[in-house]
C-alpha cells in the first residue's frame, strides 16, 4: 500500500481520537493537576500542596473501606456472574420447549438502568415491609435487617449486581458452547468419560476465550460499580458500602474536596490497570486453539 493511501486511512481516525482527547485525555491531565492542589471545586482559590492528597489516602479509613468494597464488587460479581452465567448457559443450551423465553427473561435486567433496579430492589430487601421479609414471615421467620451492617449491604449489592448482569455471561458462554463441535463431547463420552469429566476436560478448556471475555468485562464493570449503590444503600450505613466511584463523587459534590477526590480518582484508575492487565495476560495464555 502506498504511503499516501495509508496516510488517508489513518487520518480517518482523527475525529474519533480528537473526541477522546477532548473528553478523556484532557480531563485526565486536568484531574492529575488538580490532585496536587487543595481546592473546594468551585472557588478561584487553589493552593498547591504537592503530594499531600495522596499521602492522606493512607490514613483515610473510608478510602480503604471503599477500596475493599470495590474489590468485593469486582471479584465477587465476577465470580458469581461466571458461575451463574455458565450454569444458566448450560441450562438454556438444553433442548426444551420455552428455552428461548427463559433466555429472554434472564437477559432482560441488563436493559434496565442500575439506578431504577436499585430503587426497586430496595423494596425487596428493606427491613420494613420488604418482599423478602414478607416471604420469610410465611414460614414464621422474624423480619431480618438485611442492610443493617456495612458487610450485609456490600454482599447484597454484589448479589444484585451479579443477578442483574448475569445474562451477559450467559450469552457469552452460550455462544462459546454452540461453537464447540459436538463431536468432542461425544468422543469423550464414548471413551468412558463421565458427564462431569467430559465437561471439565473438554468444554472448559475450549471455553477459555469466552471465559477471558466474560471475566475481564465483569471485573471492569464491577470495579466501576456506581448506579445500584446510589438508590439501594446510598453508600450507607455510614458510608460503609461505598464503591470508589461513588466515594469520588461524594468527595467532590458533598464534601467539596475536589483535589482529594481527584487523587482518589487517579488511585481507582491505577487499581483497575494493576488488576485487569495481568489477569488478561494470564487468561489469554490459557486459551487453546481448536
Amino acid at each position: 500500500m502506498d504511503k499516501r493511501k495509508k496516510g488517508i486511512l489513518l487520518s480517518l481516525s482523527i475525529p474519533a481520537f480528537l473526541l477522546i482527547f477532548i473528553f478523556m485525555i484532557v480531563p485526565l491531565g486536568n484531574a492529575l493537576r488538580v490532585s496536587f492542589f487543595k481546592w473546594n471545586g468551585f472557588s478561584q482559590n487553589m493552593r498547591f500542596i504537592g503530594l499531600e492528597n495522596y499521602l492522606s489516602l493512607f490514613s483515610d479509613k473510608v478510602f480503604w473501606r471503599s477500596t475493599a468494597n470495590t474489590f468485593v464488587y469486582g471479584f465477587g460479581s465476577t465470580l458469581l456472574q461466571n458461575i451463574f452465567g455458565l450454569s444458566a448457559a448450560l441450562f438454556v443450551n438444553k433442548q426444551f420447549k420455552g428455552r428461548n423465553f427463559v433466555r429472554l427473561i434472564l437477559y432482560m435486567p441488563i436493559m434496565i438502568s442500575g439506578v431504577i433496579m436499585g430503587a426497586i430492589q430496595y423494596y425487596i430487601f428493606s427491613y420494613d415491609n420488604g418482599v423478602l421479609n414478607n416471604f420469610l414471615n410465611l414460614f414464621g421467620i422474624e423480619d431480618i435487617y438485611w442492610m443493617k451492617s456495612g458487610v450485609g449491604s456490600v454482599l447484597i449489592i454484589t448479589l444484585i449486581n451479579s443477578w442483574q448482569a448475569m445474562g451477559f455471561c450467559m450469552l457469552i458462554y452460550l455462544a462459546g458452547l454452540q461453537n464447540i463441535p459436538k463431536m468432542y463431547q461425544e468422543a469423550a463420552r464414548l471413551d468412558g468419560a463421565s458427564k462431569w469429566q467430559a465437561f471439565f476436560k473438554v468444554d472448559i478448556p475450549l471455553l477459555m476465550p469466552a471465559i477471558t471475555t466474560a471475566v475481564i468485562t465483569n471485573l471492569i464493570g464491577g470495579f466501576k460499580l456506581y448506579d445500584i449503590i446510589v438508590t439501594l444503600t446510598n453508600g450507607g450505613p455510614n458510608r460503609k458500602s461505598l464503591s470508589l466511584s461513588y466515594y469520588i463523587s461524594l468527595l467532590y459534590f458533598n464534601d467539596e474536596k475536589a483535589g482529594y477526590s481527584s487523587a482518589v480518582g487517579i488511585a481507582l484508575f491505577v487499581i483497575i490497570f494493576i488488576v485487569a492487565v495481568p489477569i488478561n495476560r494470564y487468561l489469554r495464555s490459557k486459551e487453546v486453539e481448536f
Binding site: 493511501k5 495509508k6 488517508i8 486511512l9 489513518l10 487520518s11 480517518l12 481516525s13 475525529p15 474519533a16 481520537f17 473526541l19 477522546i20 477532548i22 473528553f23 478523556m24 484532557v26 480531563p27 491531565g29 486536568n30 484531574a31 488538580v34 444458566a88 426444551f96 427463559v102 429472554l104 427473561i105 437477559y107 432482560m108 436493559m111 434496565i112 438502568s113 442500575g114 439506578v115 431504577i116 433496579m117 430503587a119 426497586i120 423494596y123 425487596i124 415491609n129 418482599v131 414478607n134 416471604f135 414471615n137 455462544a175 462459546g176 463420552r189 471492569i220 466501576k224 456506581y226 448506579d227 466511584s245 463523587s249 477526590s261 480518582g265 481507582l268 484508575f269 483497575i272 490497570f273
Partner: protein, 290 residues
C-alpha cells in the same frame, strides 16, 4: 460387543432424557423466571396502590387504582424528560457510530506500526473508569459553559463509549477479507468508494448490535447526567424517576407514584427489547463468537 452396547446406552442417555429429568428442567425454568420477574412484579404491584395501602408488598394491593399513572402522565415532568432522553440517545448514537465506524475502517486497513500502536492505545482507553475523570471532566465543562446542554453531555458520553465502539468495529472489519478491497482498488475504486460499496454493506449486523447497546447505555446513564443536567427542564427519564424515589428532607415520599413513573419509564425499553430480541440476543451471540 460389550463396548458398543455400553456406548449405545450412553448415546441414549445423551439424546433421550427421561420424564423425571424433564419435569426437573421445567421446575428450574419456572424458578428462574419467577426470580427474574420478581422486581417487575414488585414495581407493578406498588404502582396500582393508594399511598395509604399498607398491605405487605408481597401481596396484591387491597384496592386497585390507576390514579398514580394518571398523575405520572399529567403532573410530573416525565413527558418532557422522555423528549430529552430521546434527543440524548439519538445524538450519542449518531456521533459514536459514524465517527467510530469510519475510524475503525482506517485503523483496520492501514496496517503497520502506527495503526497497531493506536489500537493498543485504544484498548488502554477502554479501561479508564469514567468516574475517575469526574473532577477533571466536570470542572472543565463548567469552565466552557457545557452544563445543562444536552449536546455537550452527548459528546461526552460518546467520547467515553467511542473506544469500545472502535474496538468492536475494528475487529469486525479485520475479519472481512482484504481481497475484496484489493479487487475494488484494481477496478479503480478509491478509499471512500471501497468503504461505501464493500465495507459498509457488511457492517449492518454489528451496527445494529452496537446501536442497541449504545442506545441502552445512553438511555440508562445516570452519573454524568445527574451532575451535568441539573436544570429540571433538561432532566432525562432516569433522572426524573430517580428524583421521584428520592426522599428530600421533610418531604413525604410517594412510593406508588414513583413506581408508576418507573413502570412508564421502563415500558419503552422492555417493549423494544421484546421486539428487537432477535437482534439483541442473536447479535450479541454473533459478535462474541467472531
Amino acid at each position: 460387543m460389550k463396548t458398543s452396547a455400553s456406548g449405545k446406552t450412553k448415546m441414549k442417555e445423551i439424546y433421550a432424557p427421561n420424564q423425571k429429568v424433564k419435569a426437573g428442567v421445567y421446575i428450574i425454568a419456572a424458578f428462574l423466571v419467577i426470580l427474574y420477574l420478581l422486581p417487575i412484579y414488585v414495581m407493578l404491584n406498588q404502582s396500582f396502590r393508594y399511598v395509604t395501602d399498607l398491605t405487605p408488598r408481597l401481596y396484591l394491593p387491597e384496592k386497585w387504582t390507576l390514579e398514580n399513572y394518571i398523575e405520572a402522565f399529567t403532573s410530573s415532568s416525565l413527558i418532557g424528560s422522555f423528549k430529552n432522553s430521546i434527543v440524548l440517545v439519538a445524538e450519542v448514537c449518531a456521533v459514536e457510530i459514524v465517527l467510530g465506524g469510519i475510524a475503525a475502517y482506517g485503523l483496520a486497513r492501514a496496517g503497520g506500526k502506527v495503526s497497531t500502536t493506536l489500537r493498543t492505545f485504544n484498548i488502554c482507553i477502554m479501561m479508564i473508569p469514567s468516574l475517575s475523570l469526574l473532577v477533571g471532566t466536570y470542572s472543565l465543562m463548567v469552565k466552557f459553559h457545557m452544563v445543562n446542554k444536552i449536546w455537550a453531555l452527548a459528546l461526552q458520553t460518546a467520547a467515553i463509549g467511542m473506544s469500545s465502539t472502535m474496538f468492536f468495529y475494528t475487529s469486525f472489519i479485520i475479519s472481512i477479507p482484504k481481497d475484496l478491497d484489493e479487487a475494488a482498488a484494481i477496478d479503480g475504486a478509491g478509499i471512500f468508494r471501497t468503504f461505501f460499496t464493500i465495507i459498509l454493506p457488511q457492517l449492518k449486523p454489528i451496527t445494529v448490535t452496537r446501536l442497541i447497546m449504545i442506545a441502552v447505555g445512553a438511555w440508562n446513564s445516570y452519573a454524568m447526567p445527574s451532575y451535568l443536567l441539573t436544570d429540571t427542564s433538561k432532566s432525562t427519564v432516569i433522572l426524573t424517576v430517580r428524583k421521584a424515589f428520592y426522599t428530600a428532607y421533610g418531604a413525604v415520599q410517594n412510593v406508588p407514584l414513583a413506581c408508576a413513573m418507573c413502570a412508564v419509564a421502563l415500558l419503552p425499553v422492555i417493549l423494544l427489547y421484546i421486539l428487537l430480541q432477535r437482534y439483541i440476543i442473536e447479535g450479541q451471540l454473533d459478535s462474541v463468537s467472531k
